[in-house]
Structure formats: C-alpha cells, structure tokens
C-alpha cells in the first residue's frame, strides 16, 4: 500500500502483570499470572470469581484538585500514555507539532465505576444528586481527552468503543491516519477498568466467565486447553507511540518496529458467536496491507480468551489463512496471565507482540498442559521460546458484536 511508513517509538503498559511495558513482557515470558480471586471495593462482592486486578497502588500522577475528573480508567490510560511518550522522547514544542499530533484511544466500558458510584448514590443511598464531575469522569472519551490535554496533542482525538477490539481498532485507525498523512504522530492505545460490582455481575450473567480454579486461582484462565472454562476479566491500559518514519527520523528517535498491517472486519453473522470466516477476513486484510506472505509471520498473539467456541474458531481461522505456514507458526494467548482486559486487550497484547521483535522471545500460553486436540497449532505451551528470529508478528482481537481486528508489526528495515 502506498503511503507513509508508520513506526513505533514508544510503548507503555499497566496490567495485573505490573507497571511498565517491559515489566509486563518479562512477567509474561516467565509465565507469571496476575490472576487471583476478585476483591471488589465496598461491601458487595462476587465471591469465587477470579480476576486480573492491579493490586498495587497506581503512581500518583493526577493532581489532587483534578482527581474528581478522573475515573480509574483514565488514570491508568494516562499512566500508559506517559510511559510511551517518555520512551519516544517526543514533547510538543510548537503549534505545528501540536496540530500534527493526535490521540486514538479505545475503551469498552469507559468510566463505568464512576457511573456505578452515581447509581449507588441515587438508587441505594436515596440521594437526589450525584458528584458534579460524574459526566466528565465517566464519559467514554475521558482518557483520550485527558491525554491530549496533558500533552497538548491538538490534532485528531478519536475514541473507539467496539467491545474487545476497541484499542486494537484505535491502533489500526491511528496507523491509517498517519499512513494517509493526516497526522505525523498518534498516541494510540486503550484502557479498561471495569472491575466493579455491576459490570462484573453483567459479565457473570452471560455465563462466559471462568470459575476460579479450586486450588490455584492464578490458573483459572486456560486458553486453548482441553479443559478451558471461560474468560477471566482483567483491568489494564496500554499505549503505543506511532509516528511517520519521517517524523521519527527527524527526531533521531529509536525505532522499535514498524506497524505494517491492519485488518478489520465484521462477522455480520451473530452478535456474540465467533465466526472463523470473519476472523480470517481481518487477518487476510492485514497481510495484504503489510505485503507479507503468511510464512513471513513468525508469531501470533491470539485473541484466545479461553472460551470453548472462541478459541476453536480462532484455531480454525488461523489454519485457514496460514495454510502450510501454520507448521512453523507460533501462537500463544497471554490472556492466560493478564486476563481479558476487554477494551484495553488489543493494545496490551500489541505491546507484548511488538516486544517479541527486539528480544527474539515469545511468551507462552500459560497453564496449557493439555491442548484441545481440535486446536492444531504450536501454542507455545507453558514455557517461553527464546533465540528466535521474528521478522513479523500479528496480534488478533475479536469482539462481541462480530468485530475482528488483526495488526501486524514488523522489524524495522531502513531504506
């Protein structure tokens, strides 16, 4: 595809695996799980459910006076964005740079904890009003807007809310935005902080959540396993600094990789049931945009949420698209460790995927002791693989609503 090349110059992430993109990757390589028994704030609990919660206190990055404006979702988003921007070394210095800089963000449920607190005040406490900043803190574009405000990114600021592909779509659309010359750089990513009573109960009611493993809660999410039993909710934020190659070169920035492929499709077949044909269309589109043959992709970070139907559909769609190249392909689901972080999942898994290029290491599918016989893939069970030459890697994200997104990151080659 003709257009400007888009490179990665910064990564940021926070999840149950820790704070920092590198920390998250290293924890994943070691097969460490951030999953444990869910502990909600307040009296109401959902006992027995596992979750990937960030248990450590978040760094204090919001001024006291501004805290009423921030839901946990936006605070986590700011944290990830701050890290990615710091690594990139970029700071807006003039109006032209500000106008050429955008923020593309994704979230599924936005400031749901703020909304829930308001409903508790109204319907449980019997109050007649709620906190005055509930709208500002609860709105879905809060994180995107606060990031733009803090860093003075005055170009396009978009927010994507397409369930579990939200942040993958934000990254993909940011890629197109730069590729087609609408901006020189975009901070892209997503955040999700939905571990509150109402949202967790809603997910539990759908009967898609895994119960806690009886003796080892950290092993509750087992994607592609014969005994997989559903997904485990998690909270996270992740960000990637995307720039035109010209912008990165002009600054002398360190280039971590090149974003070369973005595919997006919709199943248009069922509101929740995954469709291998729709997934395949997204992967095919990403490969076509990237100009890559299947055998040039060494690793896929799978959507792999741990549901019976979803994992099987993805195994089928990958095999369909990669054909004979499937034999050499490594596929893992890091959700086994950081859970399903919904709107943040695409970005979190993308920053893990991007780090495989520079390290030559691929994180495992943790706790995969016996794979589903119908998932005929090298699923990198239990142990990371090291010493690999990874030319390109793909990150898949699929969502309720039928949305599918595939992103491909490639080693940066000059010229």
């Amino acid at each position: 595809m003709s257009g400007r090349r888009v490179v990665i110059t910064g990564l940021g992430g926070v999840s149950a695996l820790g704070i920092g993109a590198r920390q998250n990757f290293e924890q994943a390589l070691q097969g460490h799980s951030g999953i444990g028994l869910l502990e909600l704030k307040g009296e109401r609990q959902r006992p027995g459910l596992p979750a990937a919660q960030i248990r450590a206190a978040l760094p204090d990055i919001i001024r006291t006076a501004e805290q009423p404006l921030f839901d946990r979702n936006a605070i986590m988003g700011m944290l990830a964005a701050q890290e990615a921007l710091a690594q990139s070394g970029f700071a807006v210095e003039n109006e032209a740079e500000a106008e050429a800089s955008g923020v593309f963000w994704g979230t599924g449920m936005g400031g749901s904890t703020t909304l829930e607190a308001g409903y508790v005040d109204l319907f449980v406490e019997g109050k007649s009003r709620i906190r005055p900043m509930s709208v500002v803190a609860g709105m879905n574009n809060a994180a995107a807007s606060q990031i733009a405000l803090r860093y003075q990114f005055k170009g396009t600021v978009n927010n994507y809310s397409c369930a579990c592909v939200s942040s993958a779509q934000a990254i993909g659309e940011a890629y197109r935005h730069i590729h087609h010359g609408y901006a020189d750089r975009v901070l892209a990513g997503g955040s999700e902080a939905l571990l509150n009573y109402g949202v967790v109960t809603a997910w539990d009611s759908m009967r898609v959540l895994a119960p806690a493993d009886g003796t080892h809660p950290e092993r509750s999410c087992r994607p592609f396993s014969a005994d997989r039993n559903g997904l485990v909710l998690g909270e996270a934020a992740a960000a990637v600094m995307l720039e035109s190659l010209d912008s990165a070169r002009a600054r002398g920035a360190v280039i971590l990789g090149e974003l070369v492929g973005y595919g997006a499709s919709n199943d248009a077949s069922h509101i929740t049931k995954p469709d291998p044909l729709g997934q395949a269309r997204a992967m095919q589109m990403a490969l076509r945009h990237a100009g890559l043959a299947p055998q040039q992709v060494a690793y896929i970070n799978a959507h792999g949420a741990g549901t019976a139907a979803g994992d099987l559909a993805e195994a089928v769609s990958i095999s369909q698209i990669f054909g004979p190249a499937t034999q050499q392909l490594l596929v893992s689901s890091t959700k086994s460790m950081h859970g399903h972080t919904l709107g943040a999942a695409g970005a979190l898994e993308f920053i893990l995927t991007a780090q495989t290029l520079g390290t030559g290491s691929v994180p495992p599918t943790a706790f995969l002791e016996q794979a589903d016989a119908e998932c005929q893939l090298d699923l990198v069970p239990l142990q990371a693989r090291h010493g690999l030459q990874i030319e390109a890697a793909m990150s898949n994200s699929f969502a309720f609503g039928g949305s599918n997104v595939s992103l491909i990151v490639r080693q940066f080659h000059g010229a």
Binding site: R63, T64, A65, P68, R131, P132, M133, V136
Partner: protein, 83 residues
C-alpha cells in the same frame, strides 16, 4: 457580614487543592490558588453536603475565597429566617 462558613470553605479548598489551610484567607484569589470553575463546582457540592443546603442555579461572580463563603452564608441566613 459575619461569616460562619469561611473556615469550612478554607478547609475544603485546602483539601481539594492539597495546599496548607493556613495559606488561604478570605482575600485569597481563587485563580491564584489554581481553583478553576470545575473546582468551585465540586467545592460547592461539598459545602451543600456539609451544611445541608441546596444552592440554586444562580451564577455569582466568585473571585476570592470570601465570595464563596458569602454565597453560602446567604443560604444559611435564609434557612435561619425560615426556621
């Protein structure tokens, strides 16, 4: 006007802005404190809770800390008269 709410205004402002209360007086300008319009809306909400009053929709010109206290005190005075 004798203010009965000034100390509460100062205490809540100090808390929300994370500054020592003894650096705030009635004459302190809100802008100098870094208290923007959203901070004042939050503050008035907290004062309504503190004094169990409901401020109406009027938009008084609030420049210094004392202006907020005066605004609250008018409601407190009206409530006293009504009782």
């Amino acid at each position: 006007m004798t203010t009965s709410s000034l100390s509460a205004v100062i205490r809540l402002l100090a808390k929300s802005l994370d500054v020592p209360a003894d650096t705030i007086t009635g004459a302190t300008e809100l802008e100098a404190l870094g208290a923007d319009s959203l901070t004042v809306i939050e503050l008035i909400f907290d004062l309504e809770e503190e004094f169990n009053i409901q401020i109406g929709d009027e938009r008084p010109d609030l420049k210094v800390v004392q202006d907020i206290a005066d605004h609250i005190d008018r409601y407190l005075a009206n409530r006293s008269e009504a009782q």
